[in-house]
């Protein structure tokens, strides 16, 4: 059963900005990664799901309730991390969390303390003076305060250092174990790859692909930089491997599903180093789109 449904959702901001005829679902207990470059319409979609914006066309619903008409009811069981976090600046972190919890009419605060410990959050400082990462942590705690069943996370790890990114991913994996339904937008493929079952890719407001993480990975091209013992070997290799170029004794190559072939071929040479540079989402996109063109 799908918990979160987006049905032919459209909002035209002019100049080809906005979202157009977007349709996708997130099933119960599923984690869907929502990927797209900046300005693709991820946040606009999420604002519709949160009931901040009224759809121009189409509709969206959570647990069968229309996101615009039943926005307050939906929030009971929904946790949200906004893409741009802004609090009541004059409060300290603790004051804000207590305010938010009481505004939500929650009775216990045990969950707040547990989350504060988990993210090493110093809640005594004024929110105004907090760094981006600190604010992000407060935003994360606020989203989980009421132990919601559905989570909408808009670029949740932005501003966090790698250690905290990992702690966040651990938290998401735990929530996934508990059967929570998650929609997580990101422009980092790695984060989505580690946490999500499926990925929905949008570009310029239009749905490009909805696919499982596994098949996205399978179609993903991987880039390797291999250092050969000498230039002749490198040159020789490029004649045998289609997608490769060399520069002195270094070869840059693209491998798709044929990594085994690559290893087999490489083993016939004398190799001094192999690295795989980290790839940005844009690059993965290009390869993904490129890959689907080939097919």
């Amino acid at each position: 059963m799908s918990v979160l449904t987006v049905n032919q959702l459209s909002r035209d901001y002019g100049n080809e900005r906005g979202i157009f005829d977007l349709t996708f679902q997130v099933k119960e207990g599923e984690a869907l990664g929502f990927l797209g470059p900046n300005g693709a319409g991820k946040t606009t979609t999420i604002r519709h799901l949160m009931g901040f914006l009224r759809p121009e066309k189409g509709s969206c619903s959570i647990n069968g309730l229309d996101c615009w008409k039943h926005r307050a009811t939906i929030q009971k069981d929904l946790g949200y991390i906004p893409g741009e976090i802004s609090f009541f600046d004059d409060m300290t972190g603790k004051e804000f969390l207590n305010f938010y919890s009481s505004f939500r009419n929650l009775k216990t605060t045990s969950r707040i303390n547990e989350l504060i410990d988990r993210f090493d959050l110093n809640t005594r400082g004024k929110l105004k003076k907090m760094s981006k990462g600190m604010k992000q942590k407060v935003g994360i705690v606020a989203a989980f305060i009421h132990d919601p069943q559905v989570l909408i996370l808009d670029e949740p790890t932005s501003g966090l250092d790698p250690l905290m990114q990992n702690r966040f991913i651990e938290l998401i994996l735990e929530e996934k174990q508990k059967g929570k339904t998650i929609l997580m937008s990101s422009h980092m493929f790695e984060e989505v790859e580690r946490t999500c079952h499926r990925v929905c890719i949008i570009k310029e407001g239009k749905l490009v692909a909805v696919d499982s993480v596994d098949s996205l990975k399978a179609s993903q091209a991987k880039k390797f930089v291999i250092t050969f013992e000498n230039e002749e070997m490198a040159a020789d290799f490029t004649t045998k491997w289609e997608e490769s170029t060399y520069r002195s004794n270094q070869v840059t190559l693209i491998a798709r599903q044929n990594i085994n072939d690559m290893i087999a071929l490489l083993s016939t040479y004398s190799i001094s180093n192999i690295t795989s540079p980290e790839q940005g989402l844009e690059e993965i996109f290009l390869q993904y789109y490129g890959g689907s063109e080939h097919a």
Partner: protein, 266 residues
């Protein structure tokens, strides 16, 4: 209908500014009251004789020589119109538009609290603030007069004068609040929230300044707060005050509708 947590938060934010206004009002009220002289005419009326146009513009032209008329002219023609108005402009903008502009509205809307409850709570914060200021002024006026000139002040009329000013300030608050609900950016919310009442006040000043422009009084809602009429006991003032309250009710209702239906770019 009211979210207590949000109401408390709003009131706590208001305390400082209310205290500041209370301090200023205390100063004005005590000084002005001591200037009243029942036998020889006050220093202020000498001033009025010296430059009648200017004093007229600010409504400082007592129609009666009683202490009540004196209070009405020198405190309820300018100070009690402008100070609560400044409070409304600041407070109304802060309650809605600033949260939308800054994005902190997200946290009010991402909770199981209806938009109607949020906006109704914020209206109550604004009205409570206005009410506290007017109530304080009423008590202050009575106390200051009773201590300097016991028995001189017509207390029922003075209270009625304050009910009138409360109605007027509610209307101004309604304009500021509606503007705060309509606009997503603080600069526009303030421009209209402050601009419309300020313009109306300027028109009132022009209307007061002389015969030629007296018809301008039909173009400003300040005319509905008819302090001379209240002091004279005219029955039309009851209707005027009723119109003030009704108009503010309409403005606040429009604010609720605007806020619950609007798109939030947050």
């Amino acid at each position: 209908m009211l979210n207590i947590t949000l109401y408390k938060r709003g009131m706590r934010e208001n305390i400082k500014i209310i205290l500041a206004f209370a301090a200023v009002l205390t100063m004005y009220f005590t000084i002005i009251v001591t200037m009243f002289d029942p036998t020889f005419g006050s220093a202020l009326s000498e001033l009025a004789k010296a430059m009648p146009e200017l004093m007229n513009m600010f409504g400082m032209n007592p129609s009666s020589s009683t202490l009540t008329g004196f209070m009405s002219a020198y405190l309820y023609g300018f100070i009690m119109l402008i100070f609560p108005m400044v409070f409304s402009i600041i407070c109304a903008n802060r309650l809605v538009a600033r949260h939308v502009d800054k994005g902190s509205m997200v946290y009010l809307l991402s909770a199981p609290v209806k938009r109607k409850t949020i906006v109704f709570t914020q209206i109550n914060v604004l009205i409570s603030g206005i009410f506290i200021i007017v109530l304080y002024a009423t008590a202050l006026g009575i106390a200051a007069c009773e201590s300097s000139f016991p028995g001189e002040l017509d207390i029922p009329k003075f209270i009625f004068l304050n009910i009138g000013v409360f109605g007027l300030q509610l209307l101004i608050g309604g304009i500021c609040f509606l503007s705060s609900c309509i606009f997503n950016e603080t600069k526009y919310s303030i421009a209209f929230g402050a601009g419309i009442p300020a313009l109306a006040y300027v028109i009132q000043m022009l209307a007061n300044s002389g015969e030629e422009l007296s018809n301008a009084k039909y173009a400003t809602f300040f005319t509905l707060f008819n302090s001379d009429g209240i002091i004279a006991g005219d029955t039309v003032t009851y209707i005027q005050i009723l119109v003030l309250f009704l108009t503010s009710f309409i403005l606040f209702t429009a604010s609720v509708i605007t806020f619950t239906r609007k798109d939030m770019p947050i």
